[in-house]
Symmetry: D2
Subunit: 345 residues, 4 copies
């Protein structure tokens, strides 16, 4: 079938390619004309503006927006609100906050325009392997788009079937799912990413303990000088904890076992935060997912104000009111330890 | 080669079978004569006691102890200490605390008996798929046992190679690794299990948030009634977070999506605890692994004393000193909520 | 000066009493006529409705709303919006979410009505000891109300002055503070309550460890049978950790050292949740405050779904697909342990 | 009565002074002769060696060791083991690990020498205010030392009595307590310090959120520029959360509200670690106390290896295997943010 695509970055461009490789048609737009031209060279119909894209699509139109979540997606959908006609569909495939989906769908509904939110996982390999999609929207509209989703999905491949699934929705085993009404797609994708944070942090802490098993503060008979690149590799083979995340770790460590080519400055995207907000709204304890988020917050600061408050209290214990430059000589040294400020230069 | 096996439970028995299926020879002992007889029927030499087992093995002997970690392993190895001869090897394949390995090896060394600790992962499928093994001990001794480990390991199979490993120890890609001196095998296995706790808890919290997305305390327009069995399934296919642990979850949910066939009473084994102890000894922050452990502790109590302290303080806020039966009418309801005691009967 | 008070519960009633005891005048309203009559008997002017209250106040009016945060406060202020005149002031002394303050103040500003938010701490003892107040609003309006705040505040009393405060705002040492524009009062009160959660949980966990120091799973030579009522008391005297929260704990434990008169079912109010939301919005790690909140969430459930997911995974490890009633025989027992379901009946 | 004191640092010296000021007698030793001379000038009997100290004490002797926990305390007590006679008492007033107490007492008991462990709180103000003491040992021996403890304790002072304590041990209200057999004193002091970590971290996180309430990443209408020095002060007066720890914070902030005179490099002592070990041994969840400890671990590193693992995985998501210098442009900025390494010059 025909799809309009707005945003031809790595995700949007590959989605279009995978669709065209499998017989679908695409009208494409990006603010960068070169990106449009590149896909036009592969058989897509290029558009020079949102208006042009809308004009070139057959009704009822299906327009997939694949842009960074936030203001640019917001204004693009506001524009589509004005350009589209009743029964057209806007698909937001980005990492939008699910409550924004609900708000937007309500606004679009006033003009009988449909809205579908697609949480899309798969990254740069999606063009070959397909995308895992979590889809929110009205059933009828989602069903109308099924040829698109069926093509983009990875398919059952060589992943073994789960026992006991006979009689359940077969599309799920192809790697895509209609998870519920508008917002439910991005809600489920949000939790997917929240879990991902927790998984990553679990591996990271484990490797940190391995790495520091040779610390000078340990009794010498209890120290181990471990080859963590090999450990990551051996765990890929027959252990309980293999995963793609472990594969990535093994690959990075094989390349450089100190990882000193990485800053350790770790960004977070909205999904991790929204996951915790959802947990709080639901009164569900989510210690691990929260700790994973806070570890990233912490990674981006030299020292928290919180730590300075602790230092200040500790200086106060001594009965001195005067400022102290180095309140804390380290009695028990740990890994790659910072020196107190006074000793640092 | 020839191996003596003590302990013919699911792990020990399957290890012997996998070895014999591949041309090795085994002398086996278990306190349960039926277990010995069963393996004897498959070609093993049965032993009626530790003494008998030692007598039936060729020197230098290799004796694998596959018993529950703790007193029974301890006394078995103490007995072997007396029975074995210089240059024999004791292999502890259980989930022993790595500092016990170091202590034992030191004692055995007085009689020139070797000690090798093998952290063994793979569970009941190991007989077919092989075991991931993390091995601690002297290099010469570990090398002597290589035919055993090579047979027990899963082999490279169809798991893709990690780029950049050329020139590194090839055995690691077979799924077994000499991780260091005595204790290093169980140390690495311990961290493996610690990570596993964290991974499990990350998935569990995510599904808990999904499950409670339909809570009555949420605004009605923000509620989702999600099919979490299908969500577990769709995440197995093309997402970022597939793993065997997710497979198990998908399978359990396909079977019973409420999981009301499970108590939610979650045991912990020593490895999770020792992992945190190691983190503390190394001064490595390990929030996620610790939270995963504490969630299990909490799961086994009706109420912590900690919670009663909170209730008592809160009652005190009211200015009353008298005991209160139900200090806390629930203003914000959460999932499957307990009623305060006074209302419970 | 004159103040209108809406809501004559424990807080509102005592505030009026403390004001009248110190020469101020009050016009009071409550939906319960008996509460109005009681204060009228002490010299307040009773009002039979919001309209009546507004009519009986001198302009520019000052109306303090002391009602539970949420719908009732919202509708009361909406009504005042219609009844009041320009330059009148609405004071919200409840536990309102600070973003609601900002929204309401904006709406009231359209009619030149002022809004002041007062985070009020002090509980039932406030009538005698005074209230710690954190006040948000325009400086001119807050200053106009200063006689009220000065009377309600605890005053400097016998609490030692902090060195280095000379030249700083003296009102702060009286126990009240203009913390910033509208919303800043409740924002600061929110963090106060968030900290309170963390403090309570720190004590609670400490006493839990003391209580369980005699556990059967511990080596007998490492067990202590501690008198925690006496420990709470001794810590009140010369240690580093005395506080009113510890006083409450000591009192509760002196009354009943098992605390079996408390359910351990712990409510949370909005402030604890909003504190974490604020931390997340600011990208500030707040592990302790979050853990304190989650402990309360957990206390209100028999088992989390998260725990059932863990049980299900663990059952899956065994290679069985069938449901298990009691996957987890307890190897290491802990405090007051639940039995697995199968053993519980 | 007469006491021998070994270690005349701030704690040991002040304990001796408080005892002598109240009519007790002291024989004192320190490796620093000047410290001995200083106290001799105040009426103590100086000793030039452990042997000399033992010789100058009347039998049965009471010798208080007030040295840093660890090797120096250990060797001192080993020496006393040889020098002392049956029925003498060794008192360890330092921050010794309680299991070391148990081990040492067992060794000393072979020579009928008693051992008492005293967890001592009070810091540099103890000379005036007295010390809160948690005492482990045999009842008869602890009772023999009662005159010492009674003098060192703060006494009931002006701290209100806890209701319901009539008939309970009156010494507890003086600020000292016989908590149980050997080890129980330091065990209870350990938990005291563990709680202290949690309390400190709760305050610290709260102030961190206040400090960052003006962050550039927040919507402008939701920002507050708060005077946290004044907030610390106002909370001291009539709120729910005053404490000495808050006093210290208020004092430090009055002095320098940015706290840029502190490094934020926060030491931990053994008690915080041992508290968590105890919680794990007892299977008691202790999220808050653990998070407080881990925050200190984290404060002493520039980046954890854990964070580099996260960075490496994230770089892997992009499909690139090459090392990346700055994988993570910051989308959502937080407080005082580090720049990724590549941008740091």
């Amino acid at each position: 079938m025909q799809l309009g695509m707005i945003g031809l970055g790595r995700m949007g461009g590959n989605i279009v390619r995978r669709l065209m490789n499998n017989g679908h048609h695409a009208v494409v737009y990006d603010k960068d004309p070169a990106a449009v031209a590149a896909l036009a060279g592969h058989g897509a119909v290029g558009a020079s503006s949102l208006e042009d894209l809308v004009a070139k699509l057959d009704k009822p139109r299906a327009v997939w927006v694949m842009l960074p979540a936030g203001p640019i997606t917001e204004t693009t959908i506001e524009t589509l609100h004005k350009l589209l006609d009743p029964d057209d569909v806007v698909i937001d495939g980005g990492n939008t906050f699910w409550q924004d989906d609900i708000r937007r769908a309500k606004a679009l509904r006033e003009r009988q325009i449909h809205y579908v939110d697609v949480g899309t996982s798969g990254g740069v390999w999606g063009i070959d392997r397909g995308y895992c999609m979590m889809i929110g929207g009205d059933k009828k509209v989602v069903d109308r788009l099924d040829p698109i989703f069926a093509t983009l999905s990875p398919g059952i491949g060589d992943i073994p079937r789960t026992p006991g699934r006979d009689g359940r929705d077969a599309r799920v085993e192809q790697g895509y799912m209609h998870t519920g009404p508008v917002g439910a797609g991005h809600f489920v994708k949000m939790i997917h990413n929240g879990i991902e944070y927790g998984l990553m942090q679990a591996y990271a802490e484990g490797f940190d303990i391995l790495k520091n098993a040779n610390g000078a503060a340990l009794p010498s008979e209890h120290r181990f000088d471990l080859d963590i690149a090999d450990i990551a590799e051996v765990w890929r083979r027959g252990s309980v904890i293999p995963s793609w995340l472990l594969d990535l770790t093994a690959s990075a460590l094989a390349d450089n076992h100190t990882l000193d080519n990485y800053s350790g400055f770790v960004e977070d995207s909205g999904e991790g935060r929204w996951t915790i907000n959802a947990a709080i709204d639901e009164a569900v304890p989510a210690e691990v997912l929260t700790a994973a988020l806070f570890a990233r917050f912490r990674s981006r600061q030299e020292h928290t104000f919180s730590e300075k408050i602790l230092s200040a209290m500790r200086a106060g214990f001594g009965g001195h009111k005067e400022p102290q430059q180095h309140p804390d000589p380290v009695r028990q040294s740990g890994p790659k330890i910072l020196k107190p400020e006074a000793e640092r230069s």
